[in-house]
Symmetry: none
Subunit: 529 residues, 2 copies
């Protein structure tokens, strides 16, 4: 059975705290959603702000509203109270935008009619009827978002049902039941959807869920199981408060666990890529623990799990990661056994290649010994894949350094006016040549990083694009009195991918230097290939 | 009806990527969970690693295993194949640990018996029976975690049920049905739990869910609705891959939406605080969009939502934020933290006393203004009580500085032999006298700290006993391109008590200096009293 996926990343998703898409961002995301196979793409509310208006006019210029398969959809509310639908600016803006599909929301909860609209229940019904009928008269496909339908149903069932009936009478194509406040649990959705659909057996229903109880995904799936044929949600669940229903979790569940057809099993393979792409455009820190698409979604840390997985992946994986374009990762930590290290090493070997020349088990042992020694000294590789890659190469003798440190000096001075200057001077050996550079920075790590770039950029122009994404420091052994070691974790990025490196030292500056230079070495190693 | 909340943050949660609790961290979290009202706290697997062994022996030293109300629980697997339960080191470690409750997991999925255990179905049943019976013979309460119960039920129902029956025959107290791979959807849980419980009407069942399909919270709630009386999960849902079931979402749903009793409605008010506390100890970036407890969980953008909410909060809030210790935020005119600040301030005032002299509300307003400005600049006082105490005193004008900074200079040099020297020079004004000191240290923070002590010790000999316990650094605003600020949290101790201080700056050295000097000032203030 076909389920229509309705994406509202560009409309409801953009209400999320910290999200501010430009028109260009919106066009990029719309195209990515289209080629992924989404059925409806809600682009915005053309009657509410100039940015959304511009988005629709740009899409129109691209011809056929800029998309190959998906239906570009414009959003609005029902007409204002006490006016005519045909004269409502917001509804007219939808018609003017040229889209073939409109999604309009109206109130299904009498509490909202009273407190938000401050009008009568009768007028609200007229607003729904006339708005739907007006858009239908303009030959548009109309989806009616029944806002707060579930709270409304609980508080005044008859009225909530009346709003649905009114939209149907107006000629609506699909009624989307909205769980606007996000507080319902799946068994609530189950019973209310079941009863509602039984009263309107010929109407097409959809679900629009928010995540305030942490159940938006489950609520959406429950609604589909009860007969809804449309699911509204956003990529990565972005949206106001706790977010909207996350399509990245709903789509694979429907496709692989309930055998509905929504995107096509082939396209679902691009899901992880799409998730990361939207994060990148929204400039959000990626949540590694996201179901299906997260960096850790198939990451295994416990030693026992790893050895079982190598015998049969089904033992600890609910789905083959390749189906959603993700991959298995083996984490290295103090909880991990030998099997983790061996498996990680094998994973790395595929990237190294040049070491496949004979006594593999001897080499594995060598790596294990070095990793164990490093771990005893406070290193921890589960978030430092790039450093792990480098020590593996080094342990196997297949690593040719791009540069080596001779010495550095770092000065941080705060004067009596409170001004702070950070200056680093670094002496490197680069391909046998001494490079002595000095640089200032916003803090000592930035100053060291600037020195490193200054010295290396003429040899390796690729490092220009590398930037520091995140920086974490933690004391490793926090027992009193002894000199504690600090562990620095740096996450770097070159826009196309991220990598993690680690440094450990009694000295935070030196630990940072280790993580910084690993980051650059890793980048150079990858650029070379 | 009473639902038993079983927290496994310290055991299963610690399998999460990037999480590495020290023994001290574990003790702190256990105490916080205990005072929050959790029924069972799973502390670790004493037979599997020395850190967990140390944790249990430390808890034992505290008397009654260190907790006031909760049952401290130790984890293990069933005995090894082909051996005796009474000789199994891991089971003996549980007994030796002194706990009164054990949680052991065994295989309920024949696929795992074959691929992970590599033994026969019969031997697995013996392992379950004998392990449960052995622990019962030692007078322990025994919870049996039926690992992969749901996958097992689907693939070989008879065998999965047989493992449950065997644990019951062994004398188990509670059977916890584990959704180990996390791929089930709520309707799967609903039907399997319903059928299972109907076959064992007298047995107490629990649920342990993972979040690989994004449904761990919904799955746990569904299991309780079907009759499970125990819920296992972690604070903030930390755990391997996509995490465990998030107790911070499950507890309020059960308490407020289904009227079960699990923590007490009164204690649920500390939920947001507990969530943030665990994030800080785990050194994790807090997810603002978390249901109930997240910073954005009740955040509303200006406009229609806000005005409706001011007329009636129910219009856009599924629950009163105060019930879970959270608060409404209006994103445009940001009122965040006010009630927190007021309550924190009142809490502190008891420690200050000398300011209770009249216009209290004027003073509170003054503190609020300063704290809000600090918070806008990245300060966060949840784990920096001592810094909060100081700014409160400063805001009220009742603070007389013990010293003030004139300037400092810090040098870190690494020479070509790899030797590192950190030297700090600090100029202070101490009671009107200039003190200029220079000192080396194990790293820059230690060097600055040594300077500070050297300058102050003759004036204030009490500072001799202060030492740095923990040091954490985090980038505050990690969006690319702009200069990121770092937040340094320092925990200090003088053996009789610990206190936390904070510094924020673009420069890690200056942020460290702020936290260091706050730490010493706080110590001096307390010594004076």
């Amino acid at each position: 059975m076909k389920i229509l996926v309705f994406d509202t990343t560009l409309r409801d998703g953009s209400q999320g705290a910290g999200i501010a898409f430009t028109v260009e961002d919106k066009i990029k995301i719309a195209k990515a959603l289209d080629s992924f196979g989404i059925s409806y793409i809600e682009g915005g509310w053309p009657g509410s702000n100039p940015k959304d208006e511009l988005f629709f006019s740009q899409m129109k210029k691209l011809g056929s509203l800029g998309l190959k398969n998906a239906k570009l959809t414009a959003f609005s509310s029902t007409r204002r109270k006490g006016s005519k639908a045909s004269e409502d600016e917001s509804l007219r803006a939808i018609v003017k935008s040229g889209v073939k599909t409109a999604c309009i929301f109206g109130k299904s909860w009498d509490l909202h009619v009273k407190y938000a609209l401050k009008t009568t229940n009768e007028e609200n019904l007229k607003m729904i009827f006339e708005s739907v009928a007006f858009l239908k008269s303009k030959k548009l496909e109309v989806i009616f978002d029944a806002e707060h339908y579930f709270d409304g149903y609980r508080n005044n069932k008859e009225y909530a049902l009346e709003t649905v009936r009114t939209a149907v009478d107006g000629g609506v194509d699909t009624i989307c039941l909205c769980e606007t406040n996000g507080g319902m649990l799946p068994s609530d959705i189950q019973s209310i959807v079941r009863k509602t659909i039984s009263l309107f057996p010929k109407v097409r229903f959809g679900i629009h869920a928010h995540n305030d109880s942490g159940c938006a995904v489950a609520n959406s799936i429950a609604a589909v199981e009860e007969g809804c044929i449309m699911v509204q949600g956003t990529i990565n669940g972005i949206g106001e408060r706790c977010g909207n229903a996350n399509l990245c979790s709903i789509i694979p569940a429907l496709e692989f666990k309930r055998n509905y057809e929504c995107i096509s099993k082939k396209n679902v393979k691009k899901l992880s890529e799409l998730s990361r792409y939207v994060d990148e455009i929204a400039n959000l820190v990626t949540d590694d623990s996201r179901p299906y698409v997260g960096n850790n979604a198939f990451a295994h840390k416990a030693g026992m799990h790893v050895s079982a997985i190598e015998r049969n992946p089904e033992t600890y994986e609910h789905i083959n990661p390749a189906l959603v374009g993700n991959e298995r990762r083996i984490l290295i930590s103090d909880l991990s056994g030998k099997s983790n290290i061996v498996s990680k090493f094998n994973e790395m070997k595929r990237g190294i290649k040049d070491t496949d020349d004979g006594n593999a088990s001897e080499k594995i042992k060598k790596v294990i010994d070095i990793v164990k020694e490093k771990e005893n000294n406070g290193y921890q590789y589960e978030n430092a894949d790039a450093s792990f890659f480098l020590i593996t190469k080094k342990a196997l003798g297949s690593f040719k350094p791009f540069f080596s440190l001779v010495c550095y000096r770092l000065i941080v001075e705060k004067d009596s006016d409170g001004n702070i200057v950070s200056e680093a001077a670094v002496k490197l050996d680069v391909r046998g040549k001494e490079e002595h550079t000095v640089a200032e920075g916003n803090g000592p790590v930035d100053a060291l990083s600037n020195c490193l770039r200054k010295a290396l950029i003429k040899y390796y122009p690729d490092i220009k694009n590398v930037f520091l994404m995140d920086f974490k420091v933690r004391v490793v052994n926090s027992t009193a009195n002894t000199a504690a070691k600090v562990r620095v974790l740096i996450e770097s990025s070159d826009a196309s991918r991220n990598w993690g490196t680690i440094g450990v030292s009694e000295n935070i500056i030196d630990a940072s230097w280790q993580a910084l230079s690993d980051s650059i070495e890793y980048k150079l190693l990858r650029s070379k290939k």
